[in-house]
């Protein structure tokens, strides 16, 4: 059903917004000093980044958005006071085959376990399927990220690939799990 009245970037407690080059680098720099958070979100070796480095990253993100046209990037804000909560994106979109990867993170510890991740994922999926018209999305999750595993399972994602011992953290090996959700599965859920 066509439903253009629905506001794609508004949820109960949060909203999607663009990058704010003035205020966000300071906040996101703080997140990068939290190694535990960064290891949940990213597979690359983590390291703290200064606000200046974050600014450069934002410029690279906006360059990619403009030139490659396969990245859709949102900041997650609190509706109450507009403070930066996290980020959510559809990335590496393969337009020919209609698939993309989704990723999201809630930056500050005090903003976690409040349902913001669920609201953000709901908006991100609605956007990926309803606006970008993707056939399917993939979420890649380290086996040690239990919060993310629960979140994607709750949204009906199917575990499709388990790359054995693909990650080495603190001398321990972890599987890298790839979840998939099809547009049709999402539609069925929305109707149910």
């Amino acid at each position: 059903m066509l439903d253009i009245q629905t506001q794609l970037f508004e949820a109960t407690d949060i909203r999607f917004g663009p990058i704010d080059h003035e205020t966000h680098p300071e906040i996101e720099s703080k997140w990068t000093h939290d190694a535990e958070f960064m290891r949940l979100l990213d597979l690359k070796p983590v390291r703290p980044l200064s606000p200046a480095m974050i600014k450069k990253q934002y410029e690279a993100i906006e360059k990619e958005i403009e030139e490659d046209k396969n990245l859709f990037y949102f900041t997650i804000r609190a509706r109450e006071d507009d403070h930066l909560i996290g980020k959510a994106m559809v990335e590496w979109i393969d337009w020919t085959n209609g698939n993309g990867f989704i990723r999201l993170g809630i930056g500050a510890a005090e903003d976690r376990r409040k349902g913001y991740g669920s609201q953000a994922l709901h908006m991100l999926l609605r956007y990926a399927f309803g606006e970008l018209n993707l056939y399917r999305v993939t979420a890649v999750v380290p086996a040690y990220n239990e919060g993310a595993l629960r979140l994607f399972q709750k949204f009906g994602f199917v575990e499709e690939v388990r790359r054995r011992q693909a990650l080495n953290r603190d001398g321990q090996f972890w599987d890298l799990i790839s979840f998939g959700l099809l547009n049709t599965e999402w539609q069925d859920q929305a109707r149910a």
């Binding site: 597979l43 070796p45 085959n97 698939n99 399917r136 993939t138 388990r162 790359r163 011992q165 790839s178």
Partner: protein, 185 residues
């Protein structure tokens, strides 16, 4: 020490970018070949452009590309390469294409892949090697299983060709699995 570039049917080489560009330009005309090896849309590029791509890949510190030549006739028949997507987790993607279709299904690809897996484990000292393939590529799956790759999953309908949805398969081999198989051999 053994010659790690030499198999039973092929050897791994490096070519001048001009030679490789000329070969790829010829092989790219065979769209069945392209659609077996690649998920990007089939496309024809100039030799100049292909040469630039080959040169760029050669400079990339994460990638280890080789050409494949037959031992019998020293004929250039394809390319194979590892791309180390993470040095810290020590995992690499492995990809191959036998561009010359005369050499399909005769063990040349499997021989080249065996050499590349060995190179990954004993020269790059990787912990794991990963690969992906189209579910319709039966010949590739059998070849990879022979080498010791294990099936790790299937992404549903992530490919679309000729209006038909198809799956991708994902396989991996761990260093200790490969080492154990060498001792048996």
């Amino acid at each position: 020490m053994k010659d790690i570039y030499r198999g039973t049917l092929v050897r791994l080489c490096d070519e001048s970018p001009e030679i490789m560009a000329k070969a790829f330009a010829k092989w790219d005309r065979d769209t069945e070949q392209h659609r077996l090896a690649d998920s990007d849309p089939a496309m024809l590029l100039s030799e100049k452009k292909i040469k630039e791509i080959v040169e760029k890949r050669a400079e990339n510190k994460q990638s280890a590309p080789f050409s494949i030549r037959t031992l019998a006739e020293d004929k250039l028949i394809g390319g194979v390469g590892l791309w180390v997507h993470s040095w810290s987790h020590s995992d690499a993607w492995l990809g191959i294409s036998i561009g010359d279709r005369e050499y399909w299904g005769k063990g040349y690809g499997t021989d080249a892949m065996r050499l590349m897996v060995q190179y990954g484990f004993i020269e790059l000292n990787l912990r794991r090697i990963s690969l992906g393939l189209h579910a319709y590529n039966e010949r590739a799956r059998k070849s990879y299983e022979k080498i010791g790759f294990k099936m790790e999953g299937r992404t549903r309908g992530d490919g679309l060709r000729d209006g038909v949805r198809f799956d991708s398969l994902w396989m991996g081999i761990l260093r200790e699995e490969w080492l154990a198989a060498q001792e048996l051999a």
